[in-house]
Amino acid sequence: MDLIVEGFKQAIILIITGDELVVEATLRSLETSGLAVAVAILIGIPFGLLLALTRFPGRNIVIGMVNAGMGLPPVVVGLFVAALLWRSGLLGFLGLMYTIPAMIIAQVIIALPLVTGFTVSAIQQLNPKLKYQILALGATRSQMLFTLIKEARLTTLAAVMAGFGAIISEVGAVMMVGGNISRQTRVLTTAIVELVGKGDFGRAMALSIILLTLTFAATYTLTHYQQRGTRL
């Protein structure tokens, strides 16, 4: 028990005193995952609306890909992003390998199917006749879209939280394309792996406490709104 108790005590002190590594990894994680989830929202929500409300050839294939993407192992995403950004890769000339933008790209790819998929199911959880009812009350097509988003806003928020929770606690992809470089690409999860390898359980626990706080905040918001219900 010693290691855990001691580590926990140290962790509290490190957090309170604002240990440099702890602060650095936390800010880097928030920056990376925050930006990534913002990009995923901007693309995923309109895309999800489109998938939920329109019928076009190949729609089922796209929805299948979104669902598959939700179960994609992050290390596989990391591999493909790395292969793209590698010196000799297609986008190697951009020199993004082992930088924050590389991590953001990987995280967007991980979060996008989650945000899209949850948006689709948020809209689909509404009564399918609601669309007809709104139109039958004389709404234009864009008024109808706006009203539907308003009705599904809580579940859509949950989508965002799920995406954020997934990428901030992910470690494989960010390690592969970010490299866990001190003061550059070291985030909470990669730092924890590194610190445990060194036996620095105090710092690792400090980072874990922060990580848990962030992910539980996201999960809590998720379940809270799921239970409040998407039903009217």
């Binding site: 139109l135 004389g138 709404a139 308003k150």
Partner: protein, 367 residues
């Protein structure tokens, strides 16, 4: 005469290879309430969605007297409104919900306020205006949904089984109110239901749909009393339906054989062969065998009472006269005549109450 208010011709809707709807002609007149009845899956709701411009027909036209041209989308949608089985309320207050249709039309706020208050009064929901839509009971929610449609003063109101989700006491109250309001507003209405009692109460005309087709349409009493197929007869509650065959004419009456028994019906030209015979149970009278019989009734059958079912205001009495015949008799009569199971009685009905349905018509009716 002016052309119909709503006129449908050659309307077809297919989903893939399945034909959901195939209506040659249907017209609705201004100010009338047309009830469309029929089993689940008959295409009733699809027809309403097509009329409401919520889906596009595969073929055919829907013309409205109040708009130029056919199938014109938003313009038509803004002239009619529709109520669904589920109340489909939006989040927000009852006021927000009732006001929705006016808001999307950019009606000035002050006018919205006035109209919402007046329509809420009419539906008895004035006290709920600031309540959250999510907090309402089923009956209240459906009143809001109806108010939300009526406030638009539609040229045509479409109601898609609006009572189907309500429990009976709630439904009775809302149905009575709706009847009163629709009579008052003299709106043109299409009312879809699978409940014959609602149709009986509200309808001026009645259309029976089955498998995407309109099988019979006419004044409500005509469809109820003279269904043209066995299936319609069953659906509108003609409980006594028997297979028989026309045996000839005597004394100006048509003789119909049901096994060993003969029934007399009013003679109409062109009847022959295998038929269904139907007698509505409210047209059958019952008298104890030891009493004198009513005169002038052509069909009298002696039998024993097999079952007495108390249905509230009246009883269903099932009499076995070689064939089982049901009669609806008021409670008062059952009490005063002291009817009981196994009693020997006469079941009687007039020749003019015997409705004949050609049995060939089944091929057509069951498609």
């Amino acid at each position: 005469m002016s052309r119909p208010y709503l006129e449908i011709s050659g309307l077809i809707k297919r989903y893939g290879a399945r034909t959901i709807l195939d209506i040659e002609e249907l017209a609705v007149n201004r100010g009338e309430l047309l009830a469309i009845i029929g089993p689940n899956g008959a295409g009733k709701s699809t027809l309403l969605r097509l009329i409401a411009q919520l889906e596009k027909p595969t073929a055919g036209t829907i013309r409205f007297a109040f708009v130029q041209g056919a199938n014109a989308g938003l313009e038509i949608r803004r002239r009619l409104s529709m109520v669904f089985q589920d109340s489909l309320l939006l989040s927000g207050t009852v006021f927000d919900n009732i006001a929705y249709g006016l808001k999307v039309r950019k009606t000035p706020r002050i006018q919205i306020e006035k109209k919402v208050r007046s329509i809420a009064e009419m539906l008895g929901i004035s006290n709920l205006l600031s309540a959250s839509a999510g907090s309402l009971s089923g009956g209240e929610a459906q009143r809001v949904s109806i108010a939300r449609a009526l406030i638009l003063e539609p040229e045509l109101l479409l109601l898609d089984e609006p009572m189907a989700s309500l429990d009976p006491p709630t439904k009775d109250l809302l149905l009575a109110d709706l009847n009163r309001i629709l009579n008052m507003l003299k709106m043109t209405v299409i009312y879809v239901t699978h409940e014959r009692s609602e149709a009986v109460l509200l309808a001026d005309r009645l259309a029976f749909m089955d498998k995407g087709k309109i099988i019979q349409v006419g004044p409500a009493h005509e469809v109820l009393d003279h269904p043209i197929s066995r299936k319609i007869a069953d659906f509108v509650g003609a409980e006594n339906v028997f297979a028989g065959s026309i045996a000839g004419v005597s004394d100006g009456f048509l003789r119909i054989k049901l096994g060993d028994i003969e029934i007399l019906a009013v003679n109409k030209p062109g009847q022959s062969g295998a038929v269904w015979v139907s007698i509505r149970p409210e047209h059958v009278t019952v008298v104890p065998a030891d009493r004198c019989q009513a005169n002038g009734i052509q069909n009298n059958f002696k039998g024993t009472i097999e079952n007495l079912m108390n249905l509230g205001v009246f009883y269903r009495v099932v009499i076995n006269c070689g064939f089982p015949i049901s009669a609806f008799i008021t409670k008062q009569l059952v009490d005063s005549m002291g009817l009981r199971v196994k009693q020997v009685v006469y079941a009687s009905f007039k020749a003019e109450r015997v409705h004949i349905i050609p049995r060939e018509s089944e091929e057509c009716a069951y498609g």
